[in-house]
Symmetry: C2
Amino acid sequence: MPILVVGSVALDTIETPACCRKDVLGGSATYFSLAASFFHPVRIVAVVGEDMPGQKIACLRRENIDLQGLEVKPGKTFRWRGRYEPDFNIRQTLSLELNVFKNFSPRLFYPYTESPYVFLANIDPDLQRAVLRQVKAQRLAGSDTIDHWIRNRADALLDLLKEIDVFFLNDTEARLISQYASLHLAAKWLERKGPKTVVIKKGEHGVLMLSRGKFFSCPGYPLEKIVDPTGAGDAFAGGFMGYLVSCGGLDDMDIRQAIVYGSVLGSFSVESFGPARLVTLNLRQIKERVRAFKKLTHFELP
Amino acid sequence: MPILVVGSVALDTIETPACCRKDVLGGSATYFSLAASFFHPVRIVAVVGEDMPGQKIACLRRENIDLQGLEVKPGKTFRWRGRYEPDFNIRQTLSLELNVFKNFSPRLFYPYTESPYVFLANIDPDLQRAVLRQVKAQRLAGSDTIDHWIRNRADALLDLLKEIDVFFLNDTEARLISQYASLHLAAKWLERKGPKTVVIKKGEHGVLMLSRGKFFSCPGYPLEKIVDPTGAGDAFAGGFMGYLVSCGGLDDMDIRQAIVYGSVLGSFSVESFGPARLVTLNLRQIKERVRAFKKLTHFELP
């Protein structure tokens, strides 16, 4: 059974120190789906406006991606424009037009309602819960968030966490929601709120995970060049969920491997503007980088 | 044969968000020696003023530390006063008094001149070279630096690198000296300048190492509380050099293990003001945390 992802499909305008690209295909559901589809079938629930050019979303038309839930509505597509500072660690949102995404309130239809695996990208936590309630046989639910929902909808987000298996967020968000400076303490605090697995993404510095009381930490894959970090977190979540569902298990080692696959997908994602690198990528290249990641981080006890 | 360390023994005044401590024993040679002494004998070459209270340096009087090279000179001890911002990632130097350290120009005597293992803490690169020239049977030389020498003595530092086996520096310094934003590229650039092993310290984010063409990366050990990061880099170098010399080998896995031991010593160091935690620490606790570090970072390929 496919993974259901609910999120955005957007048009991004991205400014980096090196250049500016207009109307690049973006959105959390786009990055998540492309990354997850290397491992497992995905179903997208999202909305675009009538202005979305067919050729822009052509890259989502692949065997493992089901686009029946991608609605086209009268009006304009969700647009984001952002700028990255030279070290890529600071991102400034220059403009945000929700457009047709403003009234996004997903209604699942059969067989989407039977999806056992669900990923809720960063939308309003009440909407995320509304989606979960429509899914009948949920076996693994992941969700992401952004600082906006932590600042403005913390109670709804904490309610959602009670129903979530894997909660993804970045280091700044983990500190913000828990009020702990230590990510170690922040992860423990979040685990007490419900999720079996807490995944704190630290960008180029890797990931800290707490799962059923056990910590796992891995560095970022060192890259010679970062072109565009947009969507890396969603590509990470896609690689993680796709791998985890495909491997069939949920034990500690399966989840650690999923973190590594997620990290590798995230590392490919930043190598080009928008999702371009995810589009040209293949499974052989992914496995090669996973092996390189193992070599990079491996040590034996003396 | 012991490890020779040339650096500072100082009195630090440290302001953290939680409190301020005056005249704490500090200096690169102090942290390095305490950390390295768990694994291998150390010889300190440094200078203090007549104002250094005997009981402050009592913690350095331990079996594995030889203090014959610690000179007491007329005048005042090197003093540093610094302040850490709430997240500990930004450190501000409030005052710096070189005092007797101003004219520090180490003259090695026998048997110090026979030391096969040398660590040159962050002093003027010309002084670092002058020390190296006095050592007859050098088999492993490590050196550290700070941004000041990169900005003001880059040529001398590059000359030194030709004679160094292991070069330690932090991420900001690696970017500054190489002019590469990517630490991956910075490490490659530094390796071309001479050192067989380049160790880029990233504070709480761990370490990126390049050694004979092979990268190794490990995250920081996640801590619930950081009390004082002063000296963590020198404690890291001490753990690294001490372990590496004691294990007797220099192959890829020995060096990876040395990075892990260094990381563990650095993680203990930040748990108290000054070197206090290194003083109470024992080898059993170090080995326990090394095992925890392995559990934290271990994964197998699917």
